[in-house]
């Protein structure tokens, strides 16, 4: 067999196929858009190269091969030319081999394009151009070509088993989705925030990962750095490649061995034995009756329902989705976090799938069915017959919509049944009302989509154009394309709302915008209904337009229309106008909520701020001495009135003549402000939120600044994480509202590339690198921003008002409950207040009142209280007395962070802090560990660890990991402590293997896996080498020398005191662990 002419023949076929070019162009465009932008300069270009190619393989190739396979492998049967081809001299095997090879070459050529493009982009970004090109070719050879061979072999095998293109499409989609799920389940860096759920699965992926990423990452976890050359990849990698190539070969062999059925076409019904009518029959007309919509509608519904429901693809897709939903709920329902099990309910079960799996896959299936329904007659080539019948277009379209809506309903019902089955098998009680609520929230947007998609197909005469339009809509609705294009407005996300998952703590208040516990939410201002109205109106207006311009299922030009005002045109105009009005309403609300600024605009403002105001760094400015707040908070109406009085003190030797007030977010939200003895000058910069006052403040004197705020929570967008006013939970961190005095260095851009983009020079290491900025001593610019806090909160009766300080008084007046808090001494100037309708549990430790606010109290809250007591006692005994009046811990909804500490306040996510219990194999309690960690921030974070601009999070997050180790060992034994070390070691190995950040010392670390996991390993090692006595002595000394009002501490101060406390023989180790960048020693510790 001469291969070359046959391959050329394949090319001649491909080059005239629109689907081929469309697939190639779309794949290239997608790759260019998503993967080829240089973005940030990664510190490890070879690893970045590997990840980027793995991502391209994962996201593009399975789908591309799925589409091209149907074109190349099934073309004979699809176009009815089998009989002609099968009688040629070429054998079936030869034909299959050539076509499979052609398919593989197509995919390989496209991959080559990706390789060239990525290498070109990387060459412009990185210095080691030779290395980039060398690795690009090597990865193409050993990573990508074998992977493409496997995908091609799989497609070939499927094409031999089934002649339906749908099967190949589904196979491509299954590989695409399956790998993503596997990547997520094995903690691959390709899937953000994923973690390994099974060591066995991770181990299997090392050998069977078709894209060979897992074995490379496994090696990275061991060695800590990317191999310098291909030859340095270990045997596991090569074994993986061998297995993949063998598997591809096996699939090809099985495909070639497969014997097709004698004929793919059924035998036509016999005709020869039917006698012709001996007697001529007469035609008897049957005059049609007056057209009645009902029977016609029923007939259309019945036929379309039968045609779609009994297709293998429909049944297969439904079954696959149900299995996916069941497996997602059954395997993940009890998972709170590592070593921690959730005590779940129906809402948790539904939340596993209602946020992504069901809406996304539901939408994809809706789009698939919309296509099938719209072109059903045309695909069956009966479009002409049906279009010529006297049925109105409206009836035809309406029947399609009803059938599609029914299918969507069936899909949701089946999926919810799968959830219920999983829930019952896990013996979790069913809450049918919750199923109804969530089912409705999934269904309504899908029904809008159904109408929108059918309208597209009805308006566009060619399936290709209609499908392209639908693909465009889906891309904007489902992919991160709007983000990549910096299209910040939520309405760019076609068909989407701002709906967030309901939370057991505050129900649907997160986004529905409900002002009470009702499910209905706020139809005008919530984050769901206004968007749904908008998309529904848009869909209806397009739907009514489609009724007038419907091509009736044929590809011919539509009949001419009478240009007259009909009820339909009026309905279209009215719906379009209403959609426009609703869009404007959403836009105005979003604008009011400040949600329309994109990242670039925010960065540009910060750059402008630095350029215009950095000279204020040298201008003497007063400091905030006291913050007095009077807050009237109404959670039901989601409003807060805040009156703030700031006492400004001049601590300098010279008078302060000008005052720069900057408002957080670089916006000015105040309605009224009065500065005693001050007068605003002309320089009011509303764009950057800066105001300059002329003021005469002599040394040692003070003045007051009065501000009043009125906050109305905007439900149309999710509440900012530190500014929530909802009936079940309200939390305001006033750092976001109160003005900042003088120039704030933290607002400067830090990333060099971003600074360069906005025309700023890089910041010197002496300002950004902790080990340099405080190499010898704490920088002179360091100062504590501490103040006395006096807070009075008014909340509705039944609510608890919570703030920093001692509770001086509580009283009722005018139907409100008042709480007055005051700190006895200055604390870090981060005033915050919380209001919840729950009771508190009180205790005390070392003379400090402890309180927990929670909707319920259980063993988890008991353990939390125990952790608070023991942490407070341990710190008081070993480091220093508690720097506050009381400590209050409040459960918070699942809004992101699992824990957050403020001065004298701690917030814990209820999912991991209230509703979780240790799993059977847990070596330690996550509930206890987290509570201890957050309480430790009262010393490290809000005690010391603040006041040095540019210092790292070492004194805040890393040192508290030491406290976790000590407290776990003290309370639960060495095994618990070692369990934490092992856990963090695994986390660290996995995270650093997938990270593209440059290696840095622990003191300079900016990556969270360094600050937490690596810190745990470092402190475990220090404990083993130095002993707790030395470390605690160093921490105690640090506390004593740097606590307020003494000069603030930097991370390097800890290194200095630790060195001072340690024997000389250990100094190299300290140097290596805290200031060195070599992590191999930590990775290989077992």
């Amino acid at each position: 067999m001469k291969l070359w002419p046959l391959l050329l023949n394949e090319w001649r076929f491909c080059r005239v196929q629109p689907l081929f070019w469309l697939s190639v162009v779309l794949a290239l465009a997608f790759a260019a858009l998503v993967h080829l932008n240089p973005g940030a300069v990664d510190a490890q270009p070879v690893k970045a190269l590997l990840l980027r190619h793995s991502m391209l393989l994962m996201t593009i190739q399975p789908l591309l091969i799925g589409v091209l396979a149907s074109l190349l492998l099934l073309r004979d049967s699809q176009h009815g030319i089998s009989a002609l081809i099968e009688v040629t001299a070429q054998s079936r095997r030869q034909r299959l081999v050539v076509r499979a090879l052609g398919l593989w070459l197509c995919a390989a050529l496209l991959q080559l394009c990706f390789v060239l493009l990525v290498a070109l982009v990387f060459s412009t970004t990185y210095a080691d151009v030779t290395g980039i090109w060398r690795w690009s070719w090597q990865l193409l050879l050993v990573q990508q070509l074998p992977a493409l061979a496997l995908l091609t072999a799989l497609a070939l095998w499927c094409s031999c088993r089934s002649q339906s293109p749908i099967v190949l499409y589904l196979q491509g989609a299954a590989v695409w989705l399956g790998y993503m799920l596997l990547a997520a389940a094995t903690g691959s860096p390709l899937m953000a925030n994923s973690q390994s759920i099974s060591p066995l699965l991770s181990q299997l992926m090392v050998y069977l990962d078709p894209y060979a990423l897992t074995p490379v990452l496994a090696q990275l976890r061991q060695s800590g750095e990317m191999p310098a050359a291909l030859s340095q990849l270990n045997t596991t990698f090569w074994l993986n490649r061998l297995l993949i190539i063998t598997l591809a070969g096996l699939l090809c062999w099985r495909a070639l061995q497969h014997k097709p059925a004698a004929s793919n076409q059924r035998k036509p019904a016999a005709t020869t034995d039917i006698p012709l009518n001996a007697v001529a029959l007469q035609y008897q007309p049957c005059p049609p009756q007056q057209l009645r919509p009902a029977p016609v509608f029923t007939a259309l519904l019945r036929l379309q329902w039968q045609q779609l429901c009994f297709q293998y693809s429909t049944l297969l897709a439904m079954l696959a989705l149900c299995l996916l939903v069941f497996s997602e709920v059954y395997t993940g329902l009890g998972y709170a976090e590592a070593f921690s099990q959730l005590v779940p309910d129906s809402r948790d079960a539904l939340n596993r799938v209602s946020g992504d799996v069901l809406p996304r896959f539901g939408l994809l299936l809706t789009a698939f069915w919309a296509h099938q329904l719209s072109w059903l007659n045309r695909q069956a080539r009966i479009d002409g017959l049906i279009a010529a019948t006297p049925q109105p277009s409206a009836l035809l379209l309406m029947s399609q919509f009803i059938v599609l809506s029914g299918l969507v309903l069936l899909l949701v019902l089946l999926s919810l049944s799968a959830v219920a089955l999983a829930q019952m098998l896990l013996q979790v009680p069913l809450d049918l009302a919750e199923y109804g609520r969530q089912g409705l929230l999934i269904l309504l947007p899908l029904w809008c989509w159904a109408l929108l998609l059918l309208a597209c197909h009805a308006l566009l005469r060619q399936p290709l154009w209609a499908n392209l339009a639908v693909a465009g809509l889906l891309t904007f609705g489902l992919s991160p394309l709007p983000d990549l294009l910096q299209l910040q407005h939520p309405l760019w996300r076609i068909g989407q709302s701002q709906l967030q998952l309901p939370d057991i703590l505050w129900g649907y208040q997160g986004t529905l915008g409900s002002t009470a516990q009702s499910f209905a939410g706020d139809i005008y201002h919530g984050g769901f209904w206004p968007y749904l109205w908008f998309w529904a109106l848009l869909a209806i207006s397009l739907g009514t337009l489609a009724l007038q311009f419907y091509h009736r299922g044929t590809g011919f030009s539509r009949p001419k229309l009478v240009a007259a005002l009909t009820p339909l045109t009026a309905a279209t105009a009215i719906c379009a106008a209403l959609a426009l009005l609703q869009g404007l309403h959403i836009h105005q609300r979003l604008d009011a909520a400040g949600a329309l600024q994109n990242r670039d605009e925010r960065l540009a403002k910060r750059a402008a701020y630095e350029r215009q105001y950095q000279h204020w760094r040298t201008v003497p400015q007063p400091v905030v001495q006291q913050v007095k707040l009077q807050v009237n908070l109404d959670p039901h109406t989601q409003q807060a009135k805040i009156s703030a009085t700031l006492t400004l003190h001049n601590p300098h030797a010279q008078p302060v003549s000008q005052l720069l007030l900057g408002f957080p977010g670089l916006q000015t939200p105040t309605e009224l402000q009065q500065l005693q003895g001050g007068q605003a000058v002309a320089d009011i910069d509303n764009n950057l939120g800066q105001q300059v006052f002329n003021i005469q403040l002599k040394p040692g004197t003070s003045t007051t600044l009065q501000l009043q705020y009125f906050l109305q929570q905007q439900g149309i967008t999710p509440a900012p994480s530190h500014q929530i006013i909802r009936p079940e939970f309200s939390y305001l961190r006033l750092l976001q509202l109160l003005p900042q005095i003088g120039f704030v260095p933290e607002l400067r851009l830090r990333d060099d590339a971003e600074r360069a983009r906005f025309g700023l020079a890089p910041l010197p290491a002496s300002e950004t690198q902790p080990s340099v900025l405080a190499a010898h001593h704490t920088p002179a610019s360091a100062r504590y921003d501490w103040a006395l806090l006096d807070t009075t909160i008014a909340v509705p009766v039944g609510y608890q008002g919570i703030a920093t300080g001692a509770l001086l008084k509580t009283w009722q007046a005018e139907g409100q409950q008042f709480f007055h808090y005051r700190t006895e001494a200055p604390v870090r100037n981060v005033p915050a207040l919380i209001a919840v309708p729950w009771q508190k549990q009180s205790s005390e430790a070392a003379g400090v009142p402890l309180e927990i606010y929670s909707p319920e109290f259980n063993t988890a809250t008991d353990l939390t209280m125990q952790a608070m007591q023991q942490t407070l006692t341990w710190f008081s005994q070993n480091i220093g007395a508690y720097p506050g009046d009381a400590l209050r811990l409040v459960m918070m909804p699942d809004i992101g962070p699992t824990g957050y500490a403020l001065p004298q306040l701690v917030l814990i996510n209820h999912r991991v802090g209230l509703r979780a219990k240790p799993s059977a194999d847990a070596p330690f309690s996550q509930v206890y560990r987290r509570a201890a960690h957050e309480v430790a921030h009262q010393w490290f974070g809000h005690g010391i660890g603040n006041g040095v601009a540019g210092d790292s999070a070492f004194l805040v997050e890393s040192v508290t990991k030491y406290a976790e180790l000590v407290l776990l060992e003290q309370q639960f034994g060495v095994a618990a402590m070692q369990g934490l070390v092992d856990f963090e070691q695994q986390r660290f190995a996995r995270a650093q293997a997938g990270s593209l950040a440059a290696a840095s010392s622990l003191i300079d670390a900016e990556e969270s896996y360094d600050q937490y996991s690596r810190a745990t390993l470092v402190f475990a090692r220090l404990r083993a080498e130095l002993g707790d006595a030395v470390i605690m002595a160093a921490l105690r000394q640090l506390w004593q020398q740097h606590r307020y009002p003494l000069p603030p501490a930097s991370a390097m101060d800890f290194v200095r005191v630790l060195r001072a406390q340690s024997p000389a023989s250990k100094l190299p180790l300290i140097e290596q662990l805290l200031l060195g960048t070599d992590i191999r020693q930590l990775l290989n510790e077992e």
């Binding site: 005709t271 035609y283 008897q284 007309p285 049957c286 049609p288 009645r292 069956a380």
Partner: protein, 289 residues
């Protein structure tokens, strides 16, 4: 019944399918002849309300078809040149479905007509079988049956005898002749014999234009005495003779020519047919290009 004036249609790729086409047809069978690509199917699709025209008027029984397509559909029977069927549906079920769409809402009357049409098209014994598995001829008969559903006043049949065997074709002719008494049957076909046998009126369509239209006999009449044929391949023709057709009779080459006088000794006069008129029109068209 059907009046078409100045009808034009140009497709998006620039193909001018219909050029200022005008046509008049009364009750009865009306034949439409033309080579492939002449615009027959475009014309029939336009009349069947499946596509719009760029300009012109199209009236049927007083209905402005381009403006009120729905009114025409209520009295239309349409058999396209090519059509498919839904999978899994039996012949009877599919006829039922189309009958309902055509407004036959009385179940009994509908059933009776379907039974009658099944018998008429010889499909009674396979009425319960899936149409998708029918042979070409059976499927064509199904197409004819569905076109006859109801009481169409305008029946558009595009190549109705394609795939039918001689007996089935004869049966179809019987049916068409019978039903055309009180309705217009527009018949498009490549088989000129069919048209000649069935249609008292005919139009020849070439490159989107009607080049000839009228009573079939009137069109053939002028050719009488001017059609000659001769056996043999290499017979020289005088300049005034127009070669109409080269064919074979039992393997022997046969030439058929149009000439006012006998073109040669080998030629003998034969009766003129519609096919001669059609080929003559084609030849004239080629000559003018």
């Amino acid at each position: 019944m059907l009046q078409i004036q100045q009808l034009s249609k140009t497709y998006a790729d620039g193909t001018r399918a219909l050029r200022q086409l005008s046509l008049h047809a009364g009750r009865g069978l009306f034949g439409l002849l033309g080579p492939n690509g002449a615009g027959k199917s475009s014309l029939l699709r336009t009349i069947a309300t499946l596509q719009s025209a760029d300009s012109g008027t199209l009236l049927f029984d007083g209905i402005d078809v381009l403006q009120e397509p729905q009114r025409l559909r209520a009295q239309l029977g349409y058999l396209p040149q090519e059509f498919g069927v839904y999978p899994h549906l039996s012949c009877r079920a599919l006829l039922e479905h189309i009958a309902v769409l055509k407004g036959l809402h009385q179940a009994r009357a509908r059933r009776e007509q379907i039974d009658q049409l099944l018998a008429l098209t010889n499909l009674s014994t396979v009425a319960g079988k899936t149409v998708a598995h029918f042979s070409g001829g059976m499927r064509q008969r199904f197409g004819i049956a569905q076109a006859l559903l109801g009481d169409p006043k305008l029946l558009i049949l595009d190549e109705p005898s394609a795939g039918l065997d001689p007996q089935e074709r004869a049966q179809l002719h019987n049916v068409l002749c019978e039903i055309s008494r009180d309705r217009l049957v527009l018949l498009s076909s490549h088989i000129v014999d069919d048209i000649e046998q069935l249609c008292p009126n005919v139009a020849i369509l070439l490159q989107g234009e009607i080049v000839l239209q009228g009573d079939t006999q009137d069109l053939i009449g002028p050719l009488c005495g001017q059609i000659w044929q001769a056996f043999g391949a290499d017979i020289e023709l005088p300049p005034q003779a127009q070669l109409l057709q080269r064919s074979y009779q039992r393997g022997i080459p046969l030439q058929r020519v149009f000439a006012p006088q006998c073109p040669g000794a080998d030629f003998s006069p034969v009766a003129a047919t519609l096919q001669d008129r059609y080929f003559l029109a084609l030849a004239k068209q080629e000559a003018t290009q």
